[in-house]
Each structure stands twice: as structure tokens, then as C-alpha cells.
């Protein structure tokens, strides 16, 4: 009895220490989030003069101002991401299907050409791609961002889709082929419903990737109205740094909302998407 009690006590002590440590780390990790939320409700004067004091009155106009400024770029960003992600999914599932179900001449070589791209970092051909975009006449157009996004995204997408589609039993296809189904119908009616999980993983992974892209859009898009929200935020920060810090912080909150919403609704898949690229690549 005594022995049991001691063991339980030890376990309890351990659990408490774990819990305390975790809470401390958690609070520290949330500092930037708390800080941003807190500052976004204050006036510029309050931030400059009394940094830690709670706002006398919550300044909601910080949010409306930031939203008016960022709305156009947010909508633009989301539109570009939707187009790119849909294209990535369509091309990945088509390519993955071809590689997984067909034995065609040149298959090994073509797959190798895709795998090679995983090994080559983007910085190798950043200069070349920039000038090529210029030569294609795409500079300062949305396509200058969307097309490279798709090309970059479908590398991982095709590989993940191929692996996933190879797991579909080939009996299913043979049966359908006997019924006179062509490849297009096979893909739409059999494959896609079966590999939906990997498609959603790829989709989430790419949404997060694209939303976080910064350097490339900054290089190829000059007009503010076509620019992504993350790049515009830097301009926005510069504009308001001295006159409206609260607005800047409100802008950060607003620009984080899309991923927040995505995360809350798909948190399990979100975490899978996060790790899938790293592990399977």
C-alpha cells in the first residue's frame, strides 16, 4: 500500500512539473500573439508613452483602417492562391496517375526529371528565372507569381500523388477497364475519391507555402494593387510606423486570419500537411 502511494506521488509530482514547464513554454511562445493583439487595440500615443498600460478605450478603428488598406491585397492573394492550388492539384493528380498506373516508354526518365528538381534549390536559378520572366513579358503580372508557384508545387504534389495512387489496388482499374472505362473516367471516378486525403494534405501544404512566399513576389510584381498581402504589409508597416503603430499591429492580425481559419477547421490535416512534405521528400 505504502509502495503504491509513493509511486503515485512520484507520478503526480512528475505530471505537475511537466504541466508547469509546458505552460511556461506555452506562455512564452504566445508572447508575439498576445503582444500583437494587445497593441492593436491601443492608440499611437498610448504605445509611445505607456507601453504596458491597457488601452483606455479599445480602438476598433485600427482594424477598420488596416482592413481598408489591406483588403484589396488580401482578396488578390487569396484569388491567386486558389487558382494556383487548384492547378497544382489537377496537374499533380494527373501526373501521379500516369506514373502510378501506366508503364510507358520514357517513364523512368521523366520521373527522374521530376525527382531531380527536389534536389535543386531555387536559389540556383533565381537570377535566371527572374530574367526569363522578364523575357516572357510576364514581369509585373499575376502570372509571374502563379505560374512558378504551380511549377514548384506540382513537383512535390506529383510525387505524393504517385505514392498514394500506387496504393490503390490495381484490380479496381482492371475491372473498370473491362467495362470500357477510359483513363479519364478512371481518374475521376475511381482514383480521385480514393486519394482525397493526400489531395487535401497537398492543398493545405501549398496554401501555407504560397501564403508565406515573400521574396519572389517582391521581385516580379511592382504594382501595389497586384501585390501579395505579405509583401504589402512591409510597405504598410513603413507607412504607419510613426503615426499609427496600432494600425500596423491590427494589420498583422488581419493578415494572419486566413491561415488561422484554415488551421481551426483542418488542424489535423494541417499538421499532416506540414510534416508530409518534409518526411516524404
Amino acid at each position: 500500500m505504502k509502495h503504491w502511494g509513493k509511486k503515485k506521488w512520484r507520478e503526480f509530482r512528475f505530471q505537475t512539473v511537466v504541466e508547469i514547464l509546458l505552460v511556461i513554454f506555452l506562455l512564452l511562445s504566445f508572447i508575439p500573439i498576445f503582444l500583437t493583439l494587445f497593441m492593436s487595440t491601443k492608440t499611437n500615443w498610448e504605445i509611445f508613452n505607456d507601453f504596458f498600460a491597457p488601452p483606455r478605450r479599445i480602438i476598433w478603428s485600427n482594424y477598420t483602417k488596416a482592413f481598408t488598406y489591406l483588403f484589396r491585397n488580401m482578396a488578390n492573394t487569396l484569388g491567386m492562391i486558389v487558382v494556383s492550388v487548384v492547378a497544382v492539384l489537377a496537374l499533380s493528380v494527373m501526373g501521379g496517375f500516369a506514373f502510378a498506373t501506366r508503364r510507358f516508354p520514357g517513364k523512368g526518365f521523366l520521373y527522374f526529371m521530376i525527382l531531380v528538381l527536389l534536389m535543386i534549390p531555387g536559389c540556383l536559378y533565381l537570377a535566371a528565372n527572374y530574367t526569363l520572366i522578364k523575357d516572357y513579358g510576364l514581369l509585373n503580372s499575376r502570372l509571374a507569381v502563379i505560374l512558378p508557384w504551380i511549377a514548384g508545387g506540382l513537383v512535390m504534389g506529383t510525387i505524393l500523388c504517385r505514392n498514394s495512387i500506387e496504393g490503390v489496388p490495381s484490380v479496381l482499374y482492371e475491372a473498370a477497364r473491362l467495362e470500357g472505362c477510359n483513363d479519364f473516367h478512371l481518374l475521376i471516378d475511381i482514383t480521385i475519391p480514393l486519394v482525397k486525403p493526400i489531395l487535401s494534405t497537398v492543398a493545405i501544404m501549398k496554401v501555407v507555402d504560397f501564403y508565406n512566399d515573400y521574396i519572389w513576389p517582391m521581385m516580379v510584381i511592382q504594382s501595389n494593387d497586384k501585390q501579395l498581402v505579405t509583401v504589402i504589409l512591409k510597405v504598410f508597416t513603413g507607412l504607419n510606423s510613426s503615426s499609427g503603430l496600432g494600425i500596423v499591429y491590427a494589420g498583422y492580425v488581419i493578415a494572419s486570419l486566413p491561415l488561422l481559419i484554415l488551421f481551426t477547421f483542418t488542424s489535423r490535416m494541417y499538421m499532416e500537411g506540414l510534416t508530409a512534405g518534409a518526411i516524404k521528400g
Partner: protein, 664 residues
């Protein structure tokens, strides 16, 4: 029968191939001889100053360039014919006299000079006592009109006779005249001013007509009855003699270049507009944008000559732009194209007959084609993927790999200007201070980032793994991953704000804790900048490594842990002796990922300090970006890219090799 047929095929094949190859060689050679010029060609003419104005006499084939320093130089076939440096101020405008013997210059040193075209001697020198903006010479060369400015907004239109006697003087108040031109018949004058008003006036100054463009008129020219005004908002107006507007449109200036002027190629109706930053825009006669290129410094004057546009930039010299090339009207005849196509067709037919003529080849190719045909859907499915990859990946890689060994840059942009420099770009790296600082910083960042990724996330994963209740486990995992909803870029911006010297959290925190002496300009001080960048993200609970470790810990069988517990092993011992060795592959995966991202990602540093203060926080990848975006040194940037790639691949290959050996 069969034998005969096959032999016939082989003979046909031989004939086709020989003809095809000969035709191809011939076509390529002929085409090379008749090849159209490059779109833009740099004219190797050095005036020794900043070029301001141009004039060209067709009869004598003299190109005359006036500079900011007051030098006038005449060139013929790339050779200097004469040079005159007697004038004091900048030559704002050069105008040829109709006689073909004279050249007039409107000089900002308050003079009008007349030069003899033959030898460059000054034969006329009028002191106008005001700042000259532009001059015009009447078609019979009996009059010289000049617009001048004094003070803020006083302008004069002066008309002199050929001997330099002042005939008429019209004063304008509260306006700044910019441009003047004679009408082709010499009966009236056109003036343009800063308010955007185009006026037709008599020599006496009497106003005949008025047209309002609304924006500062920067260029005004009369092309035999068609008047072109280029305005500061990037619009141009093409008018008839009676000011009826024929064409008006704004050039597609979405990059906000500051317009400095423009001109028209009268033969094709192509309008050119130039900017302060060296952009040259062209719109076709249909007002569609056909060309845009940057020449890095202000474009100061334009000259349509034949089917070319000659123009000069203030510091980068003269260029010649082929108008047909930008309008895509092919100069060369299409005969060679047809011939080449025919040759290709012949070669193709030859190959087909060759295959048909050789039995085993025929069988093999037949089987291959059958397999290709049966799997045609696979190719259709892969086609868009590879088209995209070709244009946005393979092609770039190929260009980077070849051009890293050239002097490719913003100024040496066109194939014609690019030359092979061997390993020079790589040698530059060794002596480049940016690169040396960058390598040092990269080494520090590498060690710190790897340490960050293998300590705190592993600790947190282990702690969460050890929680008893599943609900609490899930909640903690969720909460620790949650901060990644803040996009990485925004997180960096927030941290930048945290380091702000006056409104940042860090200094304010130190302030209320009474540690004022610890306050710093964190990102602005070379001593603390790099450390501050590395500290950003505290307490370093990165979600990705944490999830990887957590997943790995969860995959270890419960029995192993339990049996160890029964054996009396403490949690410490279990971690070091059992868990850590078992999740070692995941740890090395995280190290690999961190290694790759530290090598390549520089957006954190770019946003926080942009490499500053000075060059104290540069890393090679940031230097690569700066060489593209700021310095336009594409060849050097590609060389940096190759170096980074090789380093990454070498380290990854080495670690893979080591792991294989370990496994054995």
C-alpha cells in the same frame, strides 16, 4: 519483292537525308548572312561627357551629340570628325539648319550657338541673357526662336534673325515654357509649357490656337504636319496642324517611372517615351505597348534615323533600337524559313524511310510506337506538367549553369553583350567582403539554428508525450502548433517590432525592470544585430520539428518503455538509452531540413536588417538576392547559386554516406 522494296526505301532514305542536310546547311548559312540586327545595339561613341542632345545630318552622315559639359562632337562611322568644347553650359537642344551647312545649339549657359557642320567652328553666338529651354529654327533658316526661363515662373519667347538680332520678344508670366517648334511652313510657332498648354503663336507672340493636355509638356515635335506632345504623366498626344487630336493614350507606366520626354518614328507611327530611370517605352501606331526596356540612366534625346531609333542616355551612352524588330515585322525574307522547313521535312522523311528499309529497326520502332500509342493518355496527362517545368524550372537551371561563367548583368543583358569570363565570378567570391562576412554569419547561424531545432522542440515533444491524459496531450499539441498560423513573414515583422528601440517590447521590458543600461538599438547595432536575429522566435518551439519528434516518440512500442520501467529504469535513462536512439533518424531528418533552410532562406534577415547595419548580417543567399535585385549582376548571382547548391548537395551526400556506413 520485299527485298526490292526495302532496298528502294534505303535508296530513297539516302537521297532524302543528303538533300535535307545540304539544304539545311545552305539555309542556315544564307540566313546568317541576311540575319536581322539585334533589337538594341550600343553605339560605341564616346563624347567624354554626359550626353544631352542629338542631331543627325543624313547628307553628310554626321551624328552630332551635345553634352551636359558643353561639348559638341560630330561622328561619322564611329569615328570622331570634329569636336568643339568652347560652349560653357549644357546643350539642351541641337537643331540642324535647312541649308545642310549649319547646326544650332540652345545652350543652358544662356547662349545660342551656330556651328558650321563641316568643321565645327562657331559662326554665331547670341547671348540671350536667360536660361534657354529649347530652340527652333525656321525652315528657311532666317529666324531662330528660343524659349527661355528666368526665375520661378517667368518665360520669354524670343525670335532672332540669322545675324543674331532680336526681332520679337514675348513675355509670359506665371508659366514656364518648355518647348518650341516651327511649323513646317515657317509661318507660326508652337510652344509647350509646364501647365500642359500647347499654343500656336505667331512670331510676334499672338496666340492662334490652344490645346490643353493637362500635364507638363516635356517633348514637342512637329513631324511634317503631325504634332507630338509627350507629357509628364506618361501620356502622348498626336495632333494635326489645327489641333485635332489623332491619337492620345497613356503609356503603360505601372512601374511609376518619371517620364522625361519622347519621340515618334514618323515612318511607322511608333511612339517612344523615356524616363528618368532609363526606361524606354514604345507604343505601336495602334497605341499598343510593344516594347519596354531599361537602360539604367535618364534618356535625354531621341532621333529616328531610317528604320532605327537612336537615343542617348545621360551616362550610359548611345543606343540604336531597331523599330521593325520591336514591331515584329520580319526584315529577312521568308524564303530561308521555308527552305529550312523543307530541309527538316526531307531529313524526317529520310529517317522514316531508313527505318522502313532496315528490318530490325523497323520492328523495334514499330513496337515502341505501339507502346507509346497505347499509353498516349499518360503523355497527355504529363504534358502540361512538363511544359510548365520547362519554362519555369529546367530552362532557368540551364541558363544559370551556363551564364554563371559569363559577365551577364543588367547592362550586359543581351546575347550580344554577354561574354565568357571563365571562373572569374567564382574567384570574385573569394575576395568579396560580402561573401566572407556572409560565410562567417552562415556558419554561426547554422550551428545556432541546428541547436535550436534539436533542443527545445525535442524537450516539448517529450514532455507532451509524457502527459497522462489524452485530452491534455491533444490540447497541448494543438496549442504549441497554433502559433504557426501567423505566417512566417508576419512573425518576423512582429519580432522586428519587438526589437524597436523606442516602441519595442524588449526595451520597454528592460525599462520597467530598471535595466535601462541594457537597452540597445538591437537591430541597428552591428554587435547585437545577428544575435537579435537568432533570438527571434524565442522560446524556439518550432512546430515542424516538434511534430516530427512527437510522432516518432509515439511510434515507439509501449512494451519497450513499460518493460524498461519495470526493470526500474528512470525516465532519464529511458530517454537517453531507449527513446533518443530510436528517434535518431527523425533527429537527423530535422537537422537536414534546418541545414537546407538555413542555407537558402534569407527572408528573415532581409526583413529584419536587409543585411545591415553595414554588411554585418549578410549571408550568401541574401547576397545572391541583392546581386539580382539591387546590383543587377546576374552572372555573379548564378555563380553564388551554384556554389550554394554544390555545398548543400555535398553536405547532404556526405551525411547520407555516413548514415549508410553506420547502418552497415
Amino acid at each position: 519483292m520485299h527485298m526490292k522494296k526495302r532496298r528502294l526505301f534505303r535508296i530513297i532514305a539516302a537521297v532524302c537525308l543528303v538533300l535535307g542536310i545540304l539544304g539545311l546547311l545552305f539555309a542556315v548559312r544564307a540566313e546568317k548572312n541576311a540575319a536581322p540586327d539585334e533589337t538594341v545595339r550600343r553605339l560605341e561613341l564616346d563624347t567624354g561627357g554626359k550626353n544631352r542632345s542629338l542631331a543627325y545630318d543624313e547628307e553628310k552622315d554626321l551624328l552630332i551629340v551635345g553634352t551636359h559639359e558643353g561639348i559638341v562632337t560630330a561622328f561619322r562611322d564611329g569615328e570622331t570628325v570634329w569636336q568643339n568644347a568652347e560652349a560653357a553650359g549644357a546643350h539642351a537642344a541641337l537643331v540642324l539648319g535647312a541649308s545642310g551647312e549649319t547646326l544650332y545649339s540652345g545652350n543652358e549657359g544662356m547662349h545660342i550657338y551656330g556651328y558650321r557642320l563641316a568643321d565645327g567652328e562657331i559662326f554665331l553666338d547670341i547671348n540671350v541673357q536667360r536660361l534657354v529651354a529649347d530652340i527652333a529654327v525656321s525652315p528657311d533658316e532666317s529666324r531662330i526662336a528660343v524659349v527661355t526661363n528666368t526665375g520661378q515662373s517667368k518665360s520669354n519667347l524670343l525670335v532672332y534673325d540669322a545675324a543674331g538680332e532680336l526681332l520679337f520678344n514675348t513675355a509670359y508670366k506665371s508659366t514656364t515654357l518648355r518647348q518650341v517648334a516651327y511649323s513646317p511652313d515657317g509661318a507660326s510657332l508652337l510652344t509647350g509649357n509646364k501647365k500642359g498648354e500647347l499654343r500656336r503663336v505667331t512670331e510676334e507672340g499672338e496666340e492662334l490656337a490652344l490645346y490643353k493636355t493637362g500635364y507638363d509638356i516635356l517633348s514637342l515635335r512637329d513631324y511634317d504636319g503631325q504634332i507630338l506632345c509627350v507629357c509628364s504623366d506618361g501620356s502622348y498626344h498626336l495632333l494635326t496642324e489645327d489641333f485635332t487630336c489623332l491619337r492620345t493614350v497613356r503609356i503603360n507606366n505601372d512601374i511609376n517611372a518619371s517620364i522625361t520626354g519622347g519621340a515618334m518614328d514618323p515612318a511607322t507611327g511608333t511612339v517612344f517615351v523615356g524616363s528618368e530611370q532609363g526606361y524606354l517605352f514604345a507604343n505601336s501606331a495602334e497605341d499598343l505597348p510593344v516594347y519596354r526596356e531599361t537602360f539604367s540612366s535618364r534618356i535625354t534625346d531621341y532621333l529616328p534615323v531610317g528604320d532605327e531609333l537612336w537615343f542617348t542616355t545621360i551616362t550610359n551612352g548611345l543606343y540604336s533600337l531597331s523599330v521593325p524588330a520591336i514591331l515584329h515585322t520580319e526584315k529577312g525574307s521568308s524564303v530561308w524559313t521555308v527552305m529550312r522547313a523543307a530541309s527538316y521535312a526531307l531529313c524526317g522523311a529520310g529517317l522514316v524511310f531508313l527505318i522502313l528499309g532496315i528490318e530490325w529497326l523497323r520492328k523495334r520502332v514499330g513496337r515502341l510506337l505501339f507502346r507509346v500509342w497505347r499509353n498516349r493518355m499518360a503523355y497527355v496527362f504529363l504534358l502540361p506538367t512538363f511544359v510548365l517545368l520547362y519554362f519555369f524550372a529546367y530552362r532557368g537551371i540551364f541558363v544559370a549553369l551556363t551564364r554563371a561563367f559569363t559577365n551577364w548583368s543588367k547592362t550586359n543583358y543581351h546575347q550580344a553583350d554577354i561574354s565568357f569570363v571563365g571562373l572569374d565570378n567564382f574567384k570574385t567570391m573569394l575576395t568579396d567582403s560580402y561573401f566572407r562576412v556572409g560565410i562567417k554569419n552562415l556558419a554561426i547561424l547554422m550551428v545556432v539554428n541546428i541547436l535550436k531545432a534539436v533542443t527545445v522542440p525535442l524537450l516539448i515533444a517529450w514532455l507532451i508525450y509524457n502527459i497522462k491524459s489524452d485530452k491534455s496531450k491533444f490540447a497541448h499539441r494543438f496549442l504549441f502548433v497554433f502559433p504557426i498560423v501567423i505566417p512566417g513573414v508576419i512573425n518576423v515583422m512582429i519580432w522586428q517590432k519587438i526589437y524597436d528601440p523606442s516602441t519595442g517590447l524588449l526595451n520597454n521590458l528592460l525599462g520597467i525592470m530598471g535595466m535601462q543600461s541594457w537597452q540597445r538599438v538591437w537591430l541597428g547595432d552591428p554587435k547585437t544585430a545577428l544575435a537579435s536575429i537568432m533570438f527571434a522566435g524565442f522560446p524556439f518551439v518550432a512546430a515542424l520539428p516538434m511534430l516530427i519528434y512527437y510522432g516518432a516518440l509515439g511510434n515507439i512500442g509501449e512494451e519497450i518503455i513499460e518493460s524498461a520501467l519495470i526493470d526500474g529504469a528512470g525516465r532519464h535513462k529511458i530517454f537517453w538509452k531507449i527513446q533518443l536512439p530510436l528517434i535518431w533518424p527523425q533527429v537527423s531528418l530535422v537537422v537536414t531540413l534546418v541545414f537546407i533552410s538555413t542555407m537558402q532562406d534569407y527572408y528573415t534577415i532581409y526583413i529584419m536588417t536587409a543585411g545591415g547595419p553595414g554588411i554585418s548580417t549578410y549571408v550568401p543567399a541574401l547576397e545572391l538576392y541583392m546581386n539580382i535585385a539591387q546590383f543587377g549582376k546576374y552572372g555573379y548571382a548564378s555563380a553564388l547559386g551554384i556554389t550554394l547548391t554544390l555545398c548543400t548537395l555535398a553536405v547532404l551526400g556526405l551525411s547520407r554516406l555516413l548514415r549508410k556506413k553506420e547502418a552497415e
